[in-house]
Amino acid sequence: MTSGMTSRTSTRRWAVVQFPGSNCDLDTFKTFQAIAESTGNIEVIMHWHEEPIQKNQYEVIALPGGFSFGDYLRAGAIAKLSAAVQNLEDVVEAGAHLIGICNGFQILLEQKLLPGYLQVNSHLRFISKTENVEIAAEAFPWFSKEDVGAVVRYPIAHRFGNYQLQKIDLAEFHPVLKYQQNPNGSYESTAGIYRKLGKGSLFGLMPHPERAAFEALKLADGLKMFQRAEENLRADRSGSHENAVNA
């Protein structure tokens, strides 16, 4: 193994894209840091929305929750114009794993990278509570085969969380999270949807796993998801690295 390869494999960068009005940016950053501290070789970066993202710049990219630009028009409608989210499709195809949580999910829908749209909750009010959510399908790197069927507890906090789809191409898009008790009227209780794209993936969800990622909060189901992603990506890297060496 050459030193050049070592440095390439050791620089894993996880980024949180920060928009004016993001308010889960620090929570997501803190969660990523907890993952980084337990594994070592991850660098966590707060990425300002005005900077474009390059291909292969990051292994994991989070679009955090919040009210980007105040969301006075339509949730995510202004943020989708930011430089950082202009070429996300290429960045993901090249291998990045993108997770859009709450407002981040809304931005991905505005970008049309994921199907469907979010309406105001069926009872027309903001809702904040902790929900039981079932992992309904495998979604690399977030959920492995053995996670499927598990019920996890994640907080939700949104007004526009009623996820609707006209029709879904199940070959391309996978509803991977389902509420056990639909809190907002979402289509078939869908809480999160996943898409494999090129070498990377897109995962949009309304619940907040980053608010359930610490032992101190007596709620750490979200931490498991981020740990799983780290393990799967590490295994994947060493696997593809071995392949490269073998070739």
């Binding site: 004016p20 009005g21 308010n23 889960c24 620090l26 929570d27 803190k30 969660t31 840091q33 907890a34 501290e37 929750g65 919040g66 009210f67 630009f69 105040g70 969301d71 006075y72 009010r125 903001f126 809702i127 904040s128 509570k129 902790t130 907080p155 906090a157 007004r159 907040h208 980053e210 608010r211 990622a213 610490f214 032992e215 101190a216 909060l217 007596k218």
Partner: protein
Amino acid sequence: MTVTATLLSASREQLKTLALGCGLSDNEWEHLCKVLGRLPSATEIQMIGVMWSEHCSYKNSKPHLRKLISKGKGVLQGPGENAGLIQIDEKRAVAFKVESHNHPSFVEPFQGAATGVGGILRDIFTMGARPIATGNYLRFGDLRTPKHSYLLDGVVSGIAHYGNCIGVPNVAGHISANTCYQGNILVNVFALGIVDLDKIFRSNSAKPGQSVMIWGAKTGRDGIHGASLLASADFDSDKKKTDESENEQKIRVQVGDPFKEKCLMDACLEVMTDLKDDLTAIQDFGAAGLTCSTMEISDKSQIGMRLELSKVPVREEKMEAFELLLSESQERMMAIVKKGSEEKFKKVLHKWGCEAEVIGETTDTKRAQIFYHDELMVDLPVSDLTDPPAVELAEPSWPELSLTSAVPADVKNEWEILLKLLSYPSVASKKRIYERYDSTVGARTVFGPGAEAAVLWIGENAESFEGIAFKGVADEDFYELHPKLGAQISMARAARGLACVGAKPIGITDGINVGNPHLPHVQGALKFMVEGMNEAIEIFETPCVSGNVSMYNQTIFENQPMDIFPTTFIVMVGLMKDVRKSTPSSFQKAGSEVWALEVSGNSENLPVNSLYSRLFWKEEERDGRWPFLDLKSEKRLQNALLAGNDRNLFLSARDISQGGLAVSLAKACVGGEKNFGFEGDLSKTQSRRDQVLFGEHQGRPLVEIDPAKRSELMKLGLEFQIQLKRIGSVTSDETFRIGPLLSGDTIQLLQAWSGTFK
């Protein structure tokens, strides 16, 4: 150039008429002319009118507030700055304060409440602290009337709108209803933040020869005269409040933009870290906007300022000097920065989309000299005019408590009474309301709304577990009975709530709401509430580090102005070493035992002045006796609860407060994620049934323990000299029984408790 040049044709009489119209008294007008040695300009009169308003000057409450105990262990900042500060470890302090927005919220509930949240958050981050939690304490009139149901919805929507967007979790609160608030609701908002000791900012540290900057939003015409005319006028002596139609008053209510405030907060916290040595003083624009910020920084820093108003970024055309000086446009800050650093600040503020302009400089003249297009409009000696001349206060008094020898009949229909108490607004579940507030953003919320006290994790990394907790209490009925007693019971309940979750109380902030300060009983309320708080502060070691006074809270009742019950929200803050040990407040496990921890003392064998007595006794049966309270034993009880919590003795802990034992047990059964039944036996008790079930004897929390830990609990009782009473056991079925007194289905309890707020 002198200010007299701008007076031109205005006569002394015209100016005096203006001054009186701005809320100055005859005496204050004379004082102003005397200090200046000339006639004030129209602009100066308007500034002084706001500065000397009750809202800004506290002229009618200061003599009482000064007596509040504000010093104690760890206090880094007491009342007087934007928020109080108490050191919590070797590196950090907690900043907190409660503030009222009653009058604007009655006029325009959505914006009134929203800007209340905005204002208190600015107070916290102005100190350099990142806000991590808010709480809201609300009082309405009869919620069955369309007006008050509209006000409730508006206030809740406003708080949700602002708080959810800015991303500070709303983790606690309280709502109750009483006809004394029919014409004057209360909206008090609390915020708490954490600050590094080396990044604390104040308004008293500016030096001469530095640049004065204005940051944040542009200035418009909103909120002009809000402080003097909305918040500081009483019904009879100042006709403005009644003469103005509601719509005219609405333009005095500011409009908030939470997104702008979020950007201003992030920008401020960024410069407070990256440019902290260049930022010498900072003050938010609250009541009276630019006027108060200018005068406060100048007075506290003992400097002067020379400002040019045409440099202020505006969003409306042709604004006059007085409008720029009095505008209460939200989301603005005044910052004093070192010369030469201005561009660095502008860069960060602009990155966050905020305005940042230099509007003048600090001087060593100790005068506020304000120009508009190079014309001198204002030239005031700061320190001589910061405070109004002393006002003569009414002699404090409070009506004698009346006693009666009537003995009401004991309770008969216990079960129905329990259901009625559970559905009473101050007792009923507020779940449908607090679910509209984001209570988990920030990833710190251990216990949010609905718990005995809010608990937030403040560890700096995943392996540190320190926590901070707070609880706010105001029992207006006890305050009305006697303000001193009301303050003590509120203090005791706040401290007990903290001890129940496992947090040691460290300090308080007080939100005082009273009526017309010119009346003897309002002065009496202030005096006695301060006395009551002080007695508890001394015993609990919880200094008062910040607070707020709202006056002129009056309701028109049968065409007469009627003061609200004196209502002081005590918000107490506590610390815990390990949030993993924090104790929940609802039952956790079938089969566990429920015990009451009780401080010993004589008590009436009647539920005097309990919620039960107020709702179900005849007028002539109610009197001025109150439930047992002993502050010294309360302190011992707190220590027992804290020790028990530390030893992991309790599965859950809950105070007995409004509604008494039966209500507390019922809420513990149906208040958690899972419902439990309860089987209790009180057949041995000698007391009356109503006293046992619904009496509000203070100092009596309930704890749930594993039966195997009974001997450990006995030991705890002996150690702290606390009586223990076995009340019963938690069951997994659907029956709630306190034998031989009452029995019924838990589902009925749940329906009664959760049906009031929808």
